[in-house]
């Protein structure tokens, strides 16, 4: 039985190093308008940013949860918290089942190694034996169709090849719970069609999918439940259509418009 329970999850980032740290730069850039509410001082008078403030939800098998919200609303942080990368500062996260993460396109790949070597490393990390790794290698090779580039260092790849490789690799190992960030929509159109077929196959077999995206059509197609995150809090939680309409501020009928990536909605 696969399930996810998140209770009153609190995630706060310490900002130790002032401007020297890119974290603060990027956070204050994206959160500029919410500075007053998100930055606070903790009990030791350090500046911390509250990335998630009391998020609670539970997911059952078959749930396809979409996370929507503006930049810096806490979508990626929530995905990382579900993956167990950021452990909670308050509250709890419980995930029953194996977890697969597609959080960033590089997937922790080593840019100086060849595509094939990266596949083998990942197989090793996932505890696969030789035959299984070979099977994955073959699978990724046929999907990514990199040809001779499979044996060249990853940093010689074009960005499209990079996405193809990492996407193929990330989707080659099948988890119970699949956590996906929005980057995988970045490829070109022909790749997206192929990726979509592969991903749909994967998504249909994962017990639980948690997906963060700006693309309304992706959300409408793949999710049966949406959580709208706003400034680290759940602003709305419910069936896809309902939340999406409230989020976009218009009825869902305009599907053609929704093809374009949606930008963050104006803050209320």
């Amino acid at each position: 039985m696969t399930d996810i329970a998140v209770e009153n999850l609190q995630i706060t980032f310490p900002l130790y190093h002032g401007n020297a740290r890119s974290l603060r730069k990027s956070l204050s850039k994206t959160l500029g308008r919410t500075l007053n509410t998100r930055f606070m001082h903790d009990n030791r008078d350090r500046v911390v940013v509250q990335a998630l403030k009391g998020v609670s939800f539970t997911l059952q098998p078959g749930d396809r949860l979409g996370l929507v919200g503006g930049n810096g609303a806490g979508k990626t942080t929530l995905l990382r918290a579900l993956a167990g990368i950021y452990e909670p500062v308050g509250g709890s996260v419980t995930v029953r089942g194996s977890i697969g993460t597609l959080l960033d396109p590089e997937l922790g790949m080593n840019m100086d190694l060849t595509g094939r070597e990266n596949i083998r490393l990942r197989g090793m990390f996932s505890g696969l034996n030789k035959e299984q790794t070979a099977q994955i290698e073959e699978d990724v090779e046929s999907f990514a169709s990199l040809g001779a580039f499979m044996d060249l260092p990853v940093n010689t790849y074009s960005s499209g090849m990079m996405v193809r490789l990492s996407f193929g690799l990330a989707t080659a190992i099948m988890p119970d719970v699949l956590l996906m960030d929005e980057w995988f929509m970045a490829g070109d159109a022909s790749f997206r069609n192929r990726a979509r077929a592969r991903l749909e196959n994967l998504v249909s077999r994962a017990d639980i999918l948690v997906l963060s995206s700006h693309m309304a059509d992706v959300m409408a197609d793949w999710c049966n439940r949406l959580i709208w995150l706003d400034q680290g809090q759940v602003r709305m939680d419910g069936p896809t259509e309902q939340v999406l309409e409230a989020y976009l501020g218009r009825p869902l009928e305009h599907k053609a418009d929704a093809e374009k990536p949606e930008e963050a909605p104006p803050a209320p």
């Binding site: 918290a81 909670p88 500062v89 709890s92 995930v95 960033d104 490393l121 505890g127 988890p175 077999r205």
Partner: protein
Amino acid sequence: MARCFGAEQAYAAGHNGSIKSMPTLHKQAGFSIALNTMNSTPTLPDTQEERAAKKQPPLSAAPQHAPQPEGQPVLHLVPERGFSYFVHAAQDFARGFRHARLGLTLAWLDIRLRYRGSILGPFWLTATTAIMVAAMGVLYAYLLNTDVHTYLPFLTLSLVLWGFVGGTMQEGCGTFTGAARLIHAARMPYSLHVLRVAVRNILVFAHNVPVVAGVFLWFHVTPKWTWTLLPATGLWLVDCFFAVLLLGILGARFRDVPPIIASLTQVMFFVTPILWSPQLMTTGQAWLLLDPFFPLIEILRAPFTGDVMQTAVWPAALGWSAVLIIATFCLFARMRTRLAYWV
């Protein structure tokens, strides 16, 4: 902070981690997947269609189990309190060492990549050491008024050992900051990154061993009390792991640590008896034991050079190691879950 009860049992329980409740999916597929991943139990995409495409036999005979909740990895994370800090730090070590093969491969690849495209490759290290030893050995033997035949083997071993200490300390600072991408990509034991850096430095050290061996052969030096070499090497390995962990944590939290360590290493190089034999000190040799590096170097060096070791050297080495290990373990237990936020 992780309280992963269940997760450990799941890892121990074996292969039934991801059996699906949906009977049409042959996810288990008859082969066992080692459950030693932090990430989860992976299963390969092997629907009937895909298998057919790959001309593999259909897996209709694959066993279909009912869902086994106790066999599934469970990740339960709550803020740590009390004893759980230490339990989870120990679990992190256990999982890290279960991934030892991956740590080893990563370390080896690091070395290979660092010297890719160079002619001598990692043997540049060997050449550098050989040249330095030859130049310094002759000069300092003259300056210190000692016999080259005893001084050069001493210096070679000292320099190679110190090269390992200094290199490990310097690279230890970047253990977690250097692995930030991996840390943010998936959940994995932090000790794996420590293992990677430790093994990498041991491999670098191994490239310098031929220089030591060559000098020893040239000057007909034979190790004396060889049995003490075994515990000494063991202590070095343990200390190496914990030193990398300690500096990795400090380096992730305070960005000033690498330059501080660099200057500290330089000072210690001259203060510790590396270039000079401790026997040169006529009085107050015991003060040297306050330098943590001296007893550790001495337990590994004295058996080769035949130096007369102070009786307090081994207790001092063990004492300093105990301080390092206990302090590091407590710090790691306390800060483990913060590392992902820092890097």
